[in-house]
């Protein structure tokens, strides 16, 4: 390609000199000009500026020879009769050569300036683009920008962590498929094969000018961070040419910028992780503090009850013994619930508890939960409102039953005995919505979101028996189902707790 361009330069130079010769022929038939050979100079200068040093020198020599043959007596002969003409000829050659040289230098400088300006602008753009908050989008933009600027068929970034960022446009597919095929045949050329560890995924952008581009292996430029390989910048050139040295320089600079951006992203993520850990740590301390209080209370009752029963010097009546024993059992069961809830909270927070979803009959689930609670809380009237056409839903039966149980038990705890608790389930668009309505004192609006935090009840007046984790567990289970949970005041007094989860899971 560049050879062809070089030949074209020489041809151009020749044409210029021929045109100059024709001009001289035209001029010298009418008028006798002193140094008509001066007309070759513009031709040489144009050749120098337009085509560079080689064609300029070629033009100088061409001018020298043509002038000698065409215009110096004896014409159409290389010999020169008049020695003065020799001087003119040599002067022509020297002047043309020097002028051509200077012009060609100028041309090189101008091109270099334009190129460095383009490079600078490209690198500036890359720096600007890669600073975007979303690294994947930034890499996509950078690849697109580099490809456009340098006219490559495709530019991509393979990340070491196997992160997929984008895909190529449809027009890119045939070429990329061809590349993938060639890489599959010759895995040694694949950049991902150079790197140990998991398979890298690639991001590629996007050749619109497909034409008859021949697929050859992509050029791989490593993206390196401070101490390790972070990925690969891949360039697929059109027509299988390799990038020029300049382009390689630019690509290296781009790869360095990408490396810096990836490192920066990692540091930012590390910092965010550290912040999350710090907050979690604070929350754990607060939780531990609250737990130690909540664990001690039932333990105190149990120890007091058991030691009382073992006292040798008192003769307890049967009723008294029964009271102590009931206290011990009740408090022990409360401890068991507390430990269970704590485990649930910590498992959900550690991300080890995933809902085991399956299709369940929702009415069945509500009936089952209400049946169990009704059996042990006789003081309230619990009613169930279920539409007949309630569809089955994709959910973790145990977890959603637990959510419902906790909400109803919460209502049982706070609403006065003898009042009614209504449990409702219905569909609301693509969601399944549950409501638990009570006639209790209601939740102050300011506390409406806080009460779903662990042990929040401790801050409220008149702490009721319970683990203080019921609503926190409920919130986490619902959120693990991709749903939400909330509470609001009922217009006629009392509160309503509601949650919704997607029907289809």
């Amino acid at each position: 390609m560049s050879r062809l361009r070089g030949l074209a330069g020489y041809a151009g130079a020749l044409a210029l000199v021929l045109v100059a010769s024709a001009l001289i022929a035209l001029v010298s038939t009418d008028v006798r000009v002193g140094n008509v050979s001066i007309l070759y100079l513009p031709a040489v200068l144009v050749a120098a500026v337009r085509f560079g040093r080689g064609p300029a020198i070629f033009a100088s020599i061409g001018a020298f020879v043509l002038y000698d043959v065409l215009f110096v007596e004896p014409r159409f002969h290389v010999t020169v009769a008049d020695p003065r003409e020799w001087v003119a000829l040599v002067l022509l050659l020297v002047t043309a050569a020097v002028a051509g040289q200077l012009a060609a230098d100028q041309r090189v400088r101008a091109r270099r300036a334009i190129r460095s300006e383009r490079e600078a602008r490209l690198l500036y753009d890359v720096a600007r683009l890669i600073g975007a908050a979303d690294l994947s989008a930034a890499l996509e933009d950078v690849a697109e920008r580099v490809r456009r600027e340098l006219g490559f068929a495709a530019v991509g970034v393979e990340l070491a962590d196997g992160q997929r960022i984008t895909s190529a446009g449809p027009s890119a597919q045939p070429l990329l498929r061809a590349v993938d095929a060639s890489r599959a045949v010759a895995p040694g050329r694949s950049p991902s094969a150079e790197k140990p560890g998991g398979p890298a995924r690639s991001v590629r952008v996007m050749p619109p000018q497909l034409g008859r581009v021949r697929a050859s292996g992509p050029v791989a430029i490593p993206v390196v961070g401070e101490d390790r390989r972070l990925g690969t910048l891949l360039v697929l050139t059109s027509a299988g040419r390799s990038p020029s040295r300049d382009e390689e320089g630019i690509l290296a600079a781009v790869a360095a910028q990408i490396g810096t951006a990836i490192e920066r992203e990692r540091l930012r993520r590390d910092a965010a992780d550290a912040e999350v850990l710090r907050r979690a740590d604070e929350a754990k301390s607060a939780l531990l503090h609250a737990v130690s209080h909540d664990l001690r209370t039932p333990l105190s009752s149990i120890i007091a009850g058991a030691t009382s029963l073992r006292q040798q010097d008192v003769a307890w009546s049967d009723a008294e013994r029964e009271e102590f024993l009931a206290g011990i059992e009740g408090e022990a069961r409360r401890l068991d619930r507390l430990v269970g809830d704590l485990l649930s909270v910590s498992r959900i927070e550690a991300g080890t508890l995933r809902p085991a979803k399956d299709w369940h009959d929702v009415g069945e689930l509500v009936d089952d939960v209400v049946g169990r609670i009704r059996a042990r809380s006789m003081g309230h009237h619990i009613s169930v409102e279920l539409p007949d056409d309630l569809p089955p839903a994709m959910l973790d039966e145990v977890e959603i039953a637990q959510v419902l149980t906790n909400l109803i038990e919460n209502a049982v705890k706070y609403a006065p005995e003898g009042t009614e608790i209504v449990v409702r389930a219905r569909t609301a668009g693509p969601e399944l919505r549950f409501d638990v309505l009570d006639e209790g004192p209601g939740v102050p609006a300011a506390a409406a979101s806080r009460i779903f935090e662990p042990f929040e009840r401790l801050a409220r007046e008149g702490a009721k028996p319970g683990t203080g984790l019921g609503l926190a567990v409920a919130k986490r289970f619902v959120e693990a189902h991709g749903g939400r949970i909330w509470t609001e005041a009922r217009s006629g007094g009392g509160s309503s707790f509601a949650f919704s989860v997607p029907i289809g899971g």
């Binding site: 485990l343 649930s344 085991a356 009959d361 009415g363 069945e364 009936d367 059996a375 973790d396």
Partner: protein
């Protein structure tokens, strides 16, 4: 029912072991104990107890493995003891051949009730046939007639097969997988949603109060239990 049946109790917590042993002995059972899975398998082989109470969390062998080794030699009923939130573990144990499970911590009354129920099952005739009567529910396994509170109930073939699976294994936890395979066939096992829908339909036809079912109880996350005698 204090017939002096022999029970092997397996748990690695000495305190639990002591309490359970004291309780069972006080009710006339002969009790042997083991603290590891290997010891349990060995003692089961040697003395062939009538019932095994097996904690799933043993230091050496996985609970399901212990059940499998016991099942290689005998059909001794096994009740597994497990903690809350370990539903998958319970299902695995039941699918491996356990008869029932109890969630720790449990009360003494619950323990004794489960032990009695398990022993009753082995004492009774295996392979229920003829007419099964449970309270106000009457199922004729020959004629496929189902009568609830004196009224004949029409069941679809699948509903009837499901009910038959229940009445044939009374007072026993049946996992989703067991029921699916019994009713739908051995190639089924993970299509729990069929089962849930059919159980809901069966309950609608049989139970008077769906919030207090008298026969088909849900064991959340594990399966169902058909109750033949109120606890």
């Amino acid at each position: 029912m204090t017939t002096g049946a022999s029970i092997l109790v397996v748990d690695d917590e000495p305190a639990i072991l002591r309490l359970v042993r004291t309780n069972l002995r006080a009710h006339g059972y002969q009790v042997e104990t083991a603290e590891t899975g290997a010891e349990a398998v060995e003692k089961h082989q040697r003395s062939r107890p009538d019932l095994v109470l097996l904690d799933l969390n043993l230091p050496d062998i996985d609970g399901a493995e212990v059940i499998a080794r016991i099942r290689e030699r005998a059909a001794t009923p096994v009740i597994v003891l497990s903690v809350r939130d370990a539903e998958r573990e319970k299902v695995a144990a039941l699918d491996a051949g356990a008869d029932d499970y109890m969630t720790k911590p449990f009360g003494a009354d619950e323990l004794l009730a489960r032990v009695r129920a398990a022993l009753r099952r082995t004492a009774g005739p295996s392979g229920v046939s003829g007419v099964v009567e449970v309270g106000e529910l009457r199922v004729d396994l020959q004629t496929r007639e189902v009568v609830v509170r004196g009224e004949p109930v029409h069941l679809t073939p699948t509903e009837y097969d499901l009910l038959r699976a229940f009445v044939r294994s009374p007072d026993r936890v049946l996992t989703d997988r067991m029921l699916l395979q019994q009713v739908w066939g051995s190639e089924y096992g993970s299509e729990s949603h069929y089962l849930h829908v059919y159980v809901a339909r069966l309950r609608k036809k049989l139970e008077r109060d769906r919030q207090a079912p008298s026969w088909i109880l849900t064991e959340p996350g594990v399966g169902y239990r058909f109750v033949s005698q109120p606890a």
